[in-house]
């Protein structure tokens, strides 16, 4: 699992590459924590290369959403596959994020 972070002004994009299962969630936790420093702006989670998401992965998305809500920022989820979109729907997560 890889997270590629790029920053441009107040926009931070994190491209998630691979399978976001429980071990991967632990592996990327430090990078996700570092993203929270930019939670006052816009964080884009680019999921075009994300092939799977587990409950641990959903928790990561949720923790970023909370951090953004506390700081007045927002999280945009971009390019999710239909499989991950259906996971978001069946868990009620679909309307928690701006999905592009």
């Amino acid at each position: 699992m890889e997270v590629i972070i790029s920053k441009e002004n107040k926009l931070v994009t994190a491209a998630l590459v691979g399978r976001l299962d429980t071990p991967a969630s632990q592996e990327i936790a430090p990078q996700i924590e570092s993203l929270k420093a930019d939670a006052a702006g816009t964080i884009v989670l680019d999921c075009s290369q994300l092939s799977y998401i587990s409950s641990s992965g959903l928790r990561i998305f949720l923790s970023l959403r909370k951090a953004a809500a506390e700081k007045g920022g927002k999280v945009i989820v971009r390019n999710i596959s239909n499989e991950i979109r259906s996971v978001f729907m069946m868990t009620g997560f679909l309307n928690l994020f701006e999905i592009q």
């Binding site: 587990s54 409950s55 959903l58 928790r59 949720l62 239909n82 979109r85 259906s86 996971v87 729907m89 069946m90 868990t91 009620g92 997560f93 679909l94 309307n95 928690l96 701006e98 999905i99």
Partner: protein
């Protein structure tokens, strides 16, 4: 103003003023901050708290006119002036009651200009209190004069404030008496603003009554009588109407439920034709089993153990729309309303129709 033009008594008063100026300045800074803190504690918001210390030239002008009236500088009550501007006219009395608790009020010199008008005239409306910090509240052995200095607090609503400023600017700035036709126009405006002030207060009062009534009806279960709107929906959500179904769904995978804001469902409930909270209550009563069936089908073969509290109302709406013949178009409308229009919503709606078509509730 050259000091040589002033009589010795006035010069003496100005000398006292100069020596007290640091205390005046500090009081004018500290008291408004304290007041703001008390207003916050009392739970109401004021538009502004302003302060000023009379300048030496302004004081000299005043003393030149009526200096003999004052034996000492402590007899002058408006060297420190504060102004509390409220949003609503009827908050002025609340501000006054806070001042009465905090300070010693010099009633003899305080004036309620709201009562100064004849019943058929309109004009300046403001409540002026002359206050002093009581020793029981605060003393400073190095500055015993703190408890001797009186200060003026003017209290008025934003509309009263606007009128007073405009009246001052238009009516007095030139220093020339304005024609009576304009005096009449300004009085007419004062009357209109008084009416508007009263209307704002009335609307606030009636809204508070409405909210209390809605809360009472929600608590008593008379949901069919409560019209569905932002206030009633908020009161309803506060009693956790979807909690039971969410817990039932969570038990499928022993999942945790993350509480989220459900206000996005209000436009959806309205879009599917619900008019009262009773309609949502009926939805929960009649469609919880169907919603549970949807959740079981979707989550049963997964190990997902985190859910959002929006899942119960989402699955209830899904079941309701499908059972009432809304089909794919109805579900797309649901997804558009909840999540915003998206090119994938139609495909997701089709996917949902496929998932649900063989579930027991669709065939009962």
């Amino acid at each position: 103003m050259a000091e040589t033009q002033l009589d010795p008594h006035t010069q003496e008063l100005l000398e006292q003023y100069r020596s007290l100026l640091p205390v005046y300045s500090q009081m004018a800074e500290v008291i408004p901050e304290k007041l703001k803190g008390f207003f916050e504690e009392a739970g109401f918001i004021v538009a502004a708290v302003e302060h000023r210390v009379k300048t030496e030239s302004s004081l000299a002008g005043k003393l030149k006119l009526k200096g003999s009236k004052y034996a000492s500088i402590f007899d002058i009550t408006d060297i420190i002036g504060l102004r509390v501007i409220t949003f609503y006219g009827d908050d002025v009395d609340k501000v006054a009651s806070v001042l009465e608790r905090l300070f010693e009020i010099d009633w003899e010199n305080s004036v309620d200009k709201r009562k100064a008008h004849e019943t058929d005239s309109f004009g300046y409306l403001s409540l002026h209190y002359i206050c002093r910090i009581p020793e029981s509240a605060y003393t400073d052995p190095d500055h015993p004069e703190l408890n001797k200095i009186r200060f003026e607090v003017q209290m008025r609503s934003v509309l009263q404030h606007a009128w007073a400023n405009m009246n001052h600017d238009t009516g007095y700035k030139s220093g020339v008496e304005i024609p009576s036709i304009y005096v009449r126009s300004l009085s007419r405006l004062a009357g209109i603003l008084e009416l508007v002030d009263d209307e704002f207060s009335r609307i606030r009062r009636e809204l508070a009554d409405y909210r209390r009534n809605v809360q009472k009806l929600v608590a008593s279960g008379n949901l069919g009588e409560v019209q569905l709107d932002g206030d009633s929906f908020r009161s309803y959500i506060a009693i956790g109407p979807f909690d039971r179904l969410n817990r039932r769904i969570a038990s499928i995978n022993q999942a945790e439920v993350q509480q989220v804001d459900l206000s996005a469902f209000l436009p959806l409930f309205k879009a599917i034709g619900f008019l009262t909270l009773g309609d949502i209550d009926s939805l929960i009563k009649n469609f919880s089993d169907a919603a549970y069936q949807i959740a079981c089908f979707q989550l049963g073969l997964t190990d997902i153990d985190i859910l959002s509290s929006s899942l119960a109302p989402q699955d209830l709406c899904t079941a309701y729309i499908l059972k009432n013949g809304g089909g794919r178009i109805g579900l797309k409308m649901m997804l558009d309303t909840l999540n915003g229009p998206d090119e994938y919503n139609d495909a997701m709606a089709g996917f949902l129709v496929e998932q649900c078509k063989d579930l027991p509730f669709m065939n009962q």
